[in-house]
């Protein structure tokens, strides 16, 4: 196996912080921790090239560095790319994460790195990469490199990678299916028995806490505000022109309400598989309250109702999808000078 190893200026023996601006250097063979890495890789494997770069240069000139590293890894005809271990060194971790992602996605070559859990590179790259949990202390070098070698060899051989605890990598935050010996019923009862008896138990899933969304400033004067309705209740014109999926929707549409004082169920259908839509079908104003808002517009309680509403279907939708759609909607809302949005759901 031909391995390319990336290390920073400190592990490369160039210098400490004073040498953090040093440019990318290429050395043939193993350097610094690479010697132990090569030894652990065993017979038939060699570090063909070591790439060394200063931490400041690496993060400040990341695009240039990435392009140069990709060229050198390609030229080296590498089977595996190893970066680090980086321990707590933040710039080193961020550079190593970025390079591993680039090597893997651009060249299809497996890549492995190692960091302490608190390294900022972990937050950025834990999902796309296997990052060995190095701990904070460089004295664990041998143990960390052994785990990197084990993972690297498995990735090269396209072998199944075990759990984070088995393999020693930082949880990526992804899930995959597995067939297990016990039925879900046996596990369910076993878990509650452990819990009620005060024994340790391991939940098969963990909740994600999300950062609170700051409350935006209040609209100063609603009587002058342009108001728009956005719904995830799946109301679409008959025929569903934008083909918005009724489950895990990847699309959204905006539909004119110009000149209308209320919505007629005959003109609309509901693309949403997660609620009983009869009441909305009967009178879509129950979901998209055009009738009430028109009255408020006439009374002057709101300045103006925007002439379109946005609709999508909010069912079993992964957050990666909804974040994207939310951003797209915000762009439109801003571009059209809307001051306030009313979100309706089911």
């Amino acid at each position: 196996m031909r391995v390319v190893h990336y290390i920073n200026q400190f592990f490369g023996g160039i210098g400490g912080e004073e040498a953090a601006g040093s440019h990318l250097e290429e050395r043939s063979g193993a350097v610094g921790p690479g010697r132990l890495l090569e030894q652990l890789l065993g017979e038939g494997s060699q570090i063909v090239t070591t790439l060394i770069c200063g931490d400041n240069f690496a993060v400040e000139q990341q695009d240039d560095l990435t392009a140069a590293v990709l060229d050198k890894v390609r030229d080296a005809n590498a089977d595996l790319f190893v970066a680090g271990p980086c321990f707590e060194a933040g710039r080193y971790g961020m550079a190593s994460g970025a390079l591993c992602v680039a090597v893997h996605s651009e060249l299809g070559i497996p890549a492995v790195t190692a960091m302490h859990e608190e390294n900022p590179g972990v937050d950025l790259y834990r999902e796309p990469l296997y990052i060995v949990d190095s701990g904070a202390n460089a004295s664990a070098m041998r143990e960390v490199l052994s785990k990197m070698v084990n993972l690297g060899q498995k990735l090269s051989a396209d072998e199944r990678i075990g759990s984070p605890i088995e393999e020693g990598y930082i949880t990526r935050g992804l899930i995959r299916d597995a067939f297990v010996d016990q039925t879900s019923a046996e596990r369910l009862v076993g878990m509650v028995m452990d819990k009620v008896n005060g024994n340790p138990f391991e939940s098969e899933m963990v909740s994600t806490s999300f950062e609170p969304i700051p409350v935006p400033a209040a609209v100063q004067d609603m009587s002058k505000a342009k108001v728009m309705i956005i719904t995830d209740g799946g109301l679409v014109p008959t025929g569903n022109p934008d083909k918005i999926e009724g489950m895990a929707a990847t699309r959204w549409g905006s539909y004119s309400i110009e000149g209308k004082d209320s919505l007629d169920g005959d003109d609309y259908e509901i693309s949403h598989g997660g609620y009983d839509p009869r009441h909305v079908q009967e009178d879509p104003d129950r979901l998209v309250p055009l009738d009430a808002l028109r009255e408020m517009e006439k009374e002057g309680a709101i300045g103006e109702l925007h002439n379109e509403f946005i609709s999508t279907s909010g069912l079993a939708n992964p957050l990666s999808n909804t974040r994207r759609m939310g951003k797209e909607m915000v762009e439109k809302v801003k571009a059209e000078g809307v001051d306030a949005v009313i979100l309706t759901s089911t």
């Binding site: 995959r176 067939f179 039925t183 009862v189 509650v192 138990f201 098969e204 963990v206 909740s207």
Partner: protein, 423 residues
């Protein structure tokens, strides 16, 4: 409430002149079975086929799978509320043809992809308990002028009747094994000092409209239903019948009769590990008031009527049931009842952050059933049994099938071995 299962193992199923049990071979008088099914004037005809484990065969779309069981005359009735007037199920002796199944195919034209397929061989079959059973696969054809809901009612009822008819062959025969369930309940003596454990299970989700004449609980389509206390034996013995709508992961009558959670709770009760105090059957809500009503009452019954120390909870269907189950568990935890919950796979992007629809710190014991990234390329089969011609075409050729579409692989009643793991 004493329930006894007289178990007759079945290793072979064949057509014969009389319906009779000969050791472990069940011979079936096809004409008599057909006569019983067509005794319902709503059924015009019925296609009947026998299928063996390992056979190069595929069938679908499956409406329901039922274990042949028949109650002795002095016991509670068969499927009360469906095949007789409503009466409490779960008392007396049931003859069980263990290893056999009645599989009912939906004969109405499909809307969208086929979501419930019986695989008797090939890679997917290895993970379904149904593939090791002897099946009578039946496709009842309703009279063409019948309303859709009446056709579904007739189709499902035909399957239940057939299951009872077949198991009556066990009457007068010595069972290979008789299983007697020990009395359980909130006031049963003998298990003092052990954790009092209840099961809280959803049986329907009101995010879908129950059909007129759909017969889920004692013949009720669940409209107007509030959470209800049930003896575990009622689940096992015909009080519950699968909804026409497949839940996410599937819920068939077969696994009400062989409920994996209830049988596990019984097993641990008998082993002296816990005190199985009872069950609550519930549904998930249509709107917020419905949700509050359902979750509050389910938690209240579990805490104050069953006096439970712990409860296991399951859902029926997708997102709304998921949230309702979690809310019920939260309410229970807040009254000191420890809980674990079982969820189906909701994460389509395979990210942990998309997996759960709740974030309650106290609901921290979660069993996560998998399914969304398991599929197989299944080979063409020699024998296709299809509810309709379109399905026949789809099922006969090699195609990719997801775990949730193979009956018995993903299952929301606790039978599945498929989970998701975090990595």
């Amino acid at each position: 409430m004493r329930l006894q299962l007289a178990r007759h193992p079945i290793t072979e199923l064949r057509w014969g002149d009389f319906t009779r049990l000969d050791n472990t071979t069940l011979e079936v008088d096809q004409d008599e079975l057909r006569g019983i099914i067509q005794g319902d004037q709503r059924i015009e005809s019925v296609d009947l086929q026998l299928v063996r484990p390992g056979e190069n065969c595929r069938a679908g779309p499956v409406l329901d799978i039922i274990e042949p069981r028949a109650k002795e005359p002095d016991a509670s009735p068969d499927f009360p509320g469906v095949l007789s007037s409503p009466a409490i199920a779960g008392r007396g002796t049931s003859h069980v043809l263990e290893g056999a199944a009645v599989t009912v195919l939906d004969g109405t034209p499909p809307k969208g992809p086929i979501r419930s397929v019986l695989e008797m061989s090939g890679p997917a079959s290895e993970h379904s308990p149904y593939s090791s059973l002897q099946h009578v696969v039946m496709t009842p054809r309703a009279q063409p002028d019948l309303a859709g809901h009446a056709a579904l009612n007739a189709t499902q009822t035909a399957g239940l009747k057939a299951a009872v008819y077949l198991a009556q062959a066990g009457f007068g025969q010595t069972p290979a094994m008789t299983e007697t369930f020990r009395p359980v309940g909130p006031n049963e003596p003998g298990h003092e000092g052990l954790p009092r454990v209840a099961y809280v299970g959803q049986i329907f989700s009101r995010q879908q409209t129950a059909e007129v004449g759909e017969q889920v609980l004692y013949g009720l389509n669940t409209n107007g239903m509030l959470p209800v206390l049930m003896h575990p034996n009622e689940w096992l013995d015909g009080a519950l019948v699968a909804s026409y709508r497949t839940s996410v992961g599937g819920a068939e009558t077969y696994f009400y009769q062989n409920h994996p959670i209830i049988t596990e709770l019984y097993r641990r009760h008998d082993a002296g590990e816990l005190n199985f105090v009872g069950t609550v059957a519930t549904i998930s809500g249509l709107d917020n008031e419905d949700r509050d009503r359902g979750t509050q009452i389910a938690a209240h019954l579990t805490k104050w009527s069953l006096n439970a120390d712990a409860a296991v909870l399951t859902k029926y269907g997708g997102g709304v049931p998921h949230a309702d189950m979690a809310e019920t568990a939260r309410l229970l935890e807040n009254t000191g009842v420890r809980t674990s919950v079982m969820v189906s796979d909701m994460s389509r992007d395979r990210r942990v952050e998309s997996a759960l629809l709740f974030n309650f710190p106290e609901v921290d014991a979660i069993v996560y059933c998998g399914g969304n990234d398991t599929s197989w390329v299944v080979p063409p089969v020699e024998r296709v049994i299809a509810g309709n011609p379109d399905a026949a075409e789809t099922l006969s050729v090699s195609h990719t099938i997801g775990a949730s579409a193979v009956v018995g692989v993903a299952n929301s009643q606790g039978a599945t071995h498929l989970r998701s793991v975090i990595y």
